[in-house]
């Protein structure tokens, strides 16, 4: 008899229940709220229920969004006596449907580490930088701290604005990021602003823009529930996107013959349940993807109607080298990396022809038969296929190219923007999409996908920001991207750096250089401002530390990986003198812009006067009203009809800004989040789950977008109305080797990444005892044979050295990942390990995103 999986559980549970001693089991309420006692229930139980009910008196509930990963799980926040006491999954949030992960459940504790920063601090002696937590910092008043920060910013701005920089984050809420970008770009006329999303999503962004001319995925999380085949490319979802991985596994268990192929350089928790693991050599994914595409064409297995109706073909600059040197971007090849030319389908096929299954096997180490099997999955018209990828693809010296290669496969087979059939770039942070990408905190962007380099985009932004025409021409050239920013800091070319919502002193690659451990002293000389909630390694290098309100200590908004914008309501007050980041920004902007004008208007009032009273040093309304006011201005970018001047530019320049249409602020609260574009239909605002896919809007399809700008009855029922000529680009990208490869001196590949329990650099999650006990230290996962050869055993300390730097870490052969011979993995959350001292800062030449996954290292017993 073959038992189904679920039947097995049922059978065994009944058997075990029968065998158990009765009345000896403790009650359990751990994962659900206390329920009222039923009539006739045990009196003791009734008393317990009453006690539980009493405990709930005084509890307030607010709607929130988890502030950790890019899943963007909705949560219900319960507070009592001014403290958050519970965080549960929000069943009404369409992204997670009530699910949560271990980090999300512990959000409340993350707020209450005893060393929360509650007072501004100033460093008087720069020589004390990096000398220990709190060393050299003294308490200050807000006025003293803000005056100092603004005076240094203004001094730098007036002297040479190329020497100032702001480094933001995909954890910055939307209206805060919007105002930050507005201050930097329209107030200071500087593009030296970039988010830490550069480190995780930039390759995906450039891929989207190159292929579709619009950022972010066409599909949504519901694709997981509808597909027949999952292909994970460089994605350890079980650790980095746990809620979504639970949905993947549920789909596999609920569906019939649902398959999972995991393309990876190591066995992870995500590999554990995969039907097939394609264990590849680092950096060989482009060869595999090209071989899949070639197989589909050679064997006539691609979708000819889809190709004819929708696609154009291109090739670009090749043999582009690697960004080792500071001057790479301005080198001859560096300046041509974005160049592409149109080619025919036949020429595209010719370029792919060398990528036989055997050639791909030679490069990747993956058996040709396995690559063929993967290709045939894409060829099978009876199956839907969903590709999911994240940092293994994006943090790659050819990250943008690999994004292209995944789209190439999906577009050739007509598998894009259709329910269950899609290519989905998973986001790393809770608002990498909503803030970093959508409001334009990148050095080359303006809000809503607009680019500083495009004149119509600047005119459009000027119209909405009520700036004189031509005012933004001063920022037509992009500023410093993140790696450039820190390289120039270490070169002594940055005088003022302000960072918020990140911990660059742990998360940046090549920290040996950026922390000034060599002969560079830029980090000491520069005036560094850090807005933070806890002491971090970054605050050890700060001249001023600004204590910030954390998560639901103020109202905010995140935009997650499936284009869902959601609001987290304020639930409690911040501790001590910690303040809302937006207030800090307003006060610094007010001081910095004092006496400045835009046209005839006071500069600060022109930019922020609608919601901030500079004389009162406070917002004109409460946090809800303030957020709503800022949102209403921001959403004008995607609702041009709200601004006649913008509407005219939108029509004349064919910007199609409605493709990202956002709803009024309160709709997001009432609906527990909405996925854009959001369309107003008969007085209701309806979300879009599948962009570019024709069908009823009320079912989540892009009915009104296609009616306005697209075409119906095309192959696949889709219309890529935002793409140039309404045709996405299939771009041939060759396999080119990693920036550096193992050598006799550095014989191992080092890969870094995240693990389930700790968010990024652990500055919050390591203050949660349960998570800290589960994952108290970083281990270096190694292959047992490598350990044996090096005389290492589990628990030994090893020294890891690259040509960039060195650190020590404990060895494990039984860690979260199983490493092939010659490869090691180290998570980056642990400040005491600081693996980023070792990691290279070489970046994808197109996206400028660093490659954290392939640093050659030497390993010795410490």
């Amino acid at each position: 008899m073959e038992l189904s999986r679920r039947k097995f559980i049922k059978t065994s549970a009944i058997a075990m229940a029968s065998a158990a001693a009765t009345g000896s089991i403790a009650s359990l309420v751990g994962c659900s709220s206390p329920e009222p006692a039923e009539e006739g229930a045990d009196p003791a139980a009734s008393a317990d229920a009453q006690a539980a009910a009493n405990d709930r008196e005084g509890i307030t509930q607010t709607v929130g969004v988890c502030r950790f990963c890019g899943c963007g799980c909705g949560v219900i926040v319960e507070a009592k006596d001014g403290k958050v006491v519970a965080v549960k999954g929000d069943p009404d949030n369409g992204s997670n449907l009530g699910l949560n992960c271990v980090k999300g459940y512990h959000l409340a504790t993350a707020l209450y580490g005893e060393d929360r920063l509650t007072t501004p601090m100033i460093r008087d002696d720069k020589a004390t930088k990096g000398t220990g937590a709190g060393a050299g910092l003294r308490e200050a008043t807000w006025d003293e701290a803000l005056d100092l920060v603004a005076s240094k910013l203004r001094e730098t701005w007036k002297a040479d604005k190329s020497r100032l920089a702001f480094w933001g984050s995909g954890q910055q809420p939307i209206v805060e990021g919007y105002c930050q970008a507005k201050f930097w770009k329209a107030g200071l006329l500087s593009n030296n602003i970039d988010p830490n999303a550069r480190l995780c999503m930039a390759s995906a962004v450039v891929g989207f823009m190159n292929v579709f001319q619009t950022d972010e995925p066409a599909g949504c999380y519901s694709d997981i529930d509808e597909t027949d085949t999952f292909v994970t490319w460089g994605a350890n979802m079980a650790e980095a996107h746990p809620m979504l991985y639970s949905r993947v596994q549920a789909r596999i268990l609920n569906g019939t013959d649902v398959k999972h192929y995991d393309v990876t350089t190591m066995n992870t928790r995500t590999s554990a349940n995969a039907d097939k693991v394609l264990l590849m050599n680092p950096g060989s994914d482009l060869a595999i993807a090209n071989a899949v595409a070639n197989y589909l064409i050679v064997n006539d297995l691609y979708d000819k109607d889809f190709v004819a109706d929708h696609l154009k073909f291109k090739q670009g600059t090749e043999d582009i080298g690697n960004a080792f040197e500071d001057g790479y971007d301005k080198s001859e090849v560096g300046q041509t990396v974005d160049a592409v030319e149109e080619i025919t389908f036949e020429q595209f096929a010719e370029r792919l022809a060398p990528y036989t299954l055997e050639y791909a096997e030679e490069i990747s180490g993956v058996p040709a038969a396995d690559i063929k099997e993967l290709a045939e999955v894409f060829a099978d018209k009876d199956r839907k296929v969903l590709s999911l990828w994240t940092m293994g693809v994006n943090q790659h010296n050819r990250g943008t190219w690999m994004n292209h290669c995944i789209y190439n496969i999906h577009l050739l087979t007509g598998r894009y923007a259709r329910p269950g059939d899609g290519a989905f770039s998973l986001t790393g942070q809770p608002s990498a999409c909503g803030t970093a990408r959508e409001v334009g905190t990148f050095c080359h962007r303006l809000p809503a996908d607009l680019l500083v380099a495009q004149e119509p985009h600047r005119r459009y932004s000027e119209a909405i920001w009520n700036l004189p025409e031509g005012y933004l021409d001063a920022i037509e050239k992009p500023g410093m991207h993140t790696v450039k920013m820190f390289r120039e800091l270490s070169n002594g070319n940055i005088d003022f750096l302000w960072s918020a919502h990140n911990n660059w002193a742990v998360s940046m690659p090549n920290l040996t250089r950026f922390l000034g451990k060599g002969d560079k002293k830029g980090i000491v000389d520069a005036f560094i401002v850090v807005s933070e909630v806890y002491p971090t390694l970054s605050t050890q290098y700060a001249d001023v530390v600004l204590p910030a309100a954390m998560w639901v200590e103020r109202e905010g908004q995140f935009g997650n990986a499936e284009r869902r914008t959601a609001v987290f309501e304020k639930a409690v007050d911040p501790p001590g003198d910690a303040k809302w980041d937006l207030w800090m920004l307003m006060e610094i902007a007010k001081r910095t812009l004092e006496g400045e004008t835009i046209g005839d208007a006071d500069a600060f009032d022109a930019l922020f006067g609608e919601w901030y009273d500079k004389d009162a040093a406070d917002f004109k309304g409460d946090e809800r009203e303030t957020s709503r006011a800022i949102w209403e201005e921001y959403r004008t970018f995607s609702n041009p009809s709200l601004n006649p001047a913008a509407e005219a530019i939108n029509a004349e320049a064919k910007l199609k800004m409605e493709n990202k249409q956002l709803a009024p602020y309160d709709e997001y609260i009432e609906n527990h989040g909405l996925t854009w574009p959001v369309r107003e239909v008969d007085g209701k605002w309806l979300a879009t789950k599948w962009r570019f896919c024709d069908g009823p809007q009320e079912d989540g399809f892009d009915q009104y977008g296609i009616e306005q700008y697209g075409a119906q009855d095309l192959a696949g029922g889709v219309s890529f109305y935002k793409s140039a000529d309404q045709r996405p680009s299939v771009v041939f990208r060759p396999w080119e080797p990693p920036a550096e490869e193992p050598s006799e001196e550095y014989p191992f590949w080092l890969c870094t990444g995240r693990l389930l329990e700790h968010w990024h650099t652990g500055s919050m999650t390591r203050r949660i005892p349960e998570l800290d006990r589960a994952l108290p230290e970083a281990l270096m996962d190694m292959n047992p044979d490598d350990c044996k050869e090096l005389g290492l055993v589990d628990g030994d300390m090893a020294r890891v050295t690259s040509r960039y730097g060195t650190c020590e870490v404990k060895v494990s052969t039984a860690g979260r990942t199983a490493q092939p011979k010659g490869r090691v993995f180290v998570p980056f959350f642990a400040e005491e390990t600081l693996i980023n001292l070792v990691v290279q800062d070489v970046y994808c030449p197109l996206s400028k995103e660093p490659d954290y996954k392939k640093t050659p290292v030497r390993i010795e017993k410490a």
């Binding site: 158990a20 580490g113 005892p769 589960a774």
Partner: protein, 125 residues
């Protein structure tokens, strides 16, 4: 490794008979300074939230290392599952009702989306 059915079912049941109480899903007591053994300096002295209403899934005890990896959620359910909301077979803490198909113990079937136990129940090291 994908979960195989009957052979592992037998193993899981055998294991279920041999284990004691498991803390997973039990009411959470947010760790105080005293009981947060093994924590790093960063967590020492963390103040607990004001009540224990937080419903946080408990960590999986250290002596359960490897069980989920070898048996999957089905293995966990053999000890922690119930069909009547009153008893579990292995003496383990009982899975809450919202972990079951249709939100009911009576189905005796764990909702597949809840079978990645280690997503919410961190494994103590």
């Amino acid at each position: 490794m994908k979960m195989k059915k009957l052979p592992l079912a037998a193993a899981a049941i055998a294991l279920a008979m041999s284990v004691g109480t498991m803390a997973a899903c039990a009411p959470t007591v947010v760790a105080s300074t005293e009981d947060a053994g093994g924590q790093s300096a960063a967590t020492a002295g963390v103040e607990a939230p004001a009540s224990e209403l937080d419903g946080i899934p408990s960590n999986t005890p250290a002596d359960h290392q490897g069980r989920f990896e070898s048996m999957g959620g089905e293995g966990c359910a053999t000890c922690h599952g119930t069909t009547d909301g009153k008893t579990t077979a292995g003496g383990g803490a009982m899975l809450p009702e919202d972990h079951y198909v249709d939100g009911s113990y009576t189905t005796g079937e764990i909702d597949p989306v809840r079978l990645q136990c280690n997503t919410c129940h961190a494994q103590e090291s």
